[in-house]
């Protein structure tokens, strides 16, 4: 599903994001990418959604070589990957419903399908009754659930979470992880970049540890170890 061959990202000689990453993630896996701040987790996420291009190496998603993806193709890539961020990245002037429908509207989905699908995904994340509220009228956990609903709405094959629980309390953190696990059970590949030890240990799934931009361990059923 996701393949990285010798991927290096150099911002400048003093700042290297990731170094010589070789990685193969199968479809349907739930992979935690761990490491302290500044170890390259976010760089890896940014490379996968083409926010950055690798300085060296090759990245493929499915059969799609996105190493030097053309800027006109980036929207198509991003419509295939659901991304959840630490700061939620919701559109503040759009309601919960509009935030989610926007992801479908940009893809040219027809209106009747949007009207049908959006309440369904809101049901999954338990926010159907708050669909007409604005993000600032929701708690942090609720906002992150909206972000998950948005990432889910076009049924992506991959969901990437970049510290999605970083701004949440423990209760909301557990809720978000449970939702991600459920999504994974339906066959979606989940990549979770985090430095939350409890989450990683409770998952008992594959763990890739980064240090200084390099992979220092890759365990099938790993634990959080730095």
């Amino acid at each position: 599903m996701i393949k990285l061959h010798g991927v290096t990202k150099v911002y400048n000689p003093e700042s290297i994001g990731v170094r010589n990453l070789n990685l193969h993630i199968e479809a349907g896996e739930f992979v935690s990418i761990v490491g302290q701040s500044g170890t390259g987790k976010t760089t890896l996420v940014r490379l996968l959604i083409a926010e950055e291009h690798p300085t060296k190496g090759k990245i493929t998603i499915g059969d799609w070589d996105i190493t030097n993806i053309d800027s006109s193709n980036i929207p198509f890539l991003r419509r295939q990957i659901g991304v959840i961020f630490q700061d939620f990245k919701l559109l503040p002037k759009k309601t919960v419903y509009e935030n989610i429908s926007f992801a479908l509207e940009v893809a040219g989905e027809n209106s009747s399908r949007i009207r049908k699908v959006v309440p369904q995904v809101l049901e999954i994340v338990g926010l159907k009754d708050k669909m007409h509220r604005y993000p600032q009228q929701l708690s942090g956990g609720e906002q992150q659930r909206v972000a998950i609903a948005r990432s889910l709405v076009h049924r992506p094959k991959i969901i990437i979470g970049d510290e999605p629980t970083g701004n949440l309390d423990s209760l909301n953190t557990v809720e978000i992880i449970e939702i991600l696990k459920k999504i994974n059970e339906f066959g979606t590949t989940v990549l979770l970049a985090t430095h939350n030890r409890e989450i990683v240990n409770s998952l008992r799934r594959r763990v890739i540890t980064l240090r200084g931009g390099e992979i220092v361990s890759d365990e099938r059923e790993g634990k959080y170890r730095l």
């Binding site: 929207p75 991003r78 991304v83 002037k93």
Partner: protein, 302 residues
């Protein structure tokens, strides 16, 4: 088609949900357009006034009484061949006499002296109008040849030379001042509009980056801002036009007192409405759209 409808929907949504910012943008556009229109109006009124002054200037060629109609016609034909000449009016000997008599009807001694002469002592006259006051000199220099010496009694220009030159100087200066003032104003207007739009886009920078991250294409992001630019332009032009017509309604009676030819700014605006507001709409639309696109370029690199 569905994307286009969505882009329009998002544009209206953006305007409505950022009402304060939208309102301020329109206000600034209206203020700039009003300033441009004030300058435009001043320019029109100045040109009209200058034109009126220029119209008052003409040069008369007084022929000797013995000059024949054929000779006068020949001189007229020669003068007409000059591109600088706008119009030549011929006054016959009788018309010159009548004009003289009516001018001096309150001076019986002058009229009596005229009667003493018996015959009509006046020759025909050519009243020449040129495109620009400075053209008179050229025309009269061309007439200053020995073969016309026996025909022409006098030229009235010499006496007015100083006055005409003064008027010419003043009008040239006014036109030059108007040009530079307009240029400076246009640059200021450009900078203000450009920065207003940049600020508006800057406040949307996070939203733009989020839209990119959820897979919106560049045109899907730019679209609503371009539609907004169009709506702001239409709205600001409509408001400006309304305010301008209100002002003209109040101003016109005063202008009628100054301009005896019945010049009215309302009539001027009516007959040039598409040129004035069309040109301004086009300029504002280009400016706002271009500013939006330039300001968004950075955000769209994400």
């Amino acid at each position: 088609m569905i994307s286009f409808i969505r882009v329009i929907k998002f544009a209206f949504q953006e305007i409505g949900r950022n009402a304060g910012l939208s309102f301020m943008t329109v206000v600034i556009l209206v203020l700039m357009l009003l300033s441009v229109n004030v300058l435009w109006t001043v320019d029109v009124v100045t040109k009209e006034a200058v034109g009126l002054v220029k119209e008052q200037i003409n040069v008369s060629l007084y022929f000797k009484a013995e000059a024949s109609d054929q000779e006068v016609s020949e001189v007229k034909r020669t003068l007409n061949s000059f591109p600088e000449v706008l119009e030549i009016k011929t006054q016959s000997r009788e018309e010159v006499l009548e004009s003289f008599q009516s001018r001096h009807q309150l001076s019986p001694e002058v009229l009596e002296a005229l009667n003493e002469l018996g015959d009509n002592p006046f020759g025909p006259t050519l009243v020449i109008k040129t495109r620009e006051p400075e053209d008179y000199k050229k025309i009269l220099q061309a007439m200053d040849v020995p073969e016309y010496d026996n025909l022409v009694e006098a030229k009235s220009y010499e006496g007015n030379e100083e006055g005409i030159e003064k008027i010419q100087n003043i009008t040239n200066r006014i036109e030059r001042l108007g040009f530079w003032l307009s240029l400076i104003f246009l640059i200021i207007a450009f900078l203000i509009i450009f920065n207003t739009v940049r600020v508006a886009i800057y406040t949307h920078r996070i939203e733009i980056s989020i839209k990119r991250l959820v897979g919106a294409s560049n045109w899907f992001i730019r679209g609503p801002y371009l539609v907004e630019s169009f709506l702001f332009t239409v709205l600001s032009i409509a408001i400006t036009a309304g305010l301008i017509y209100l002002a003209l309604h109040w101003l016109d009676p005063y202008l009628l007192l100054v301009f005896p030819n019945g010049f009215s700014l309302t009539n001027y605006y009516n007959s040039h409405i598409f040129l004035i507001f069309g040109l301004q709409a086009l300029a504002v639309l280009l400016l706002t759209s271009l500013s939006s696109l330039l300001a968004m370029r950075r955000q769209l690199k994400i």
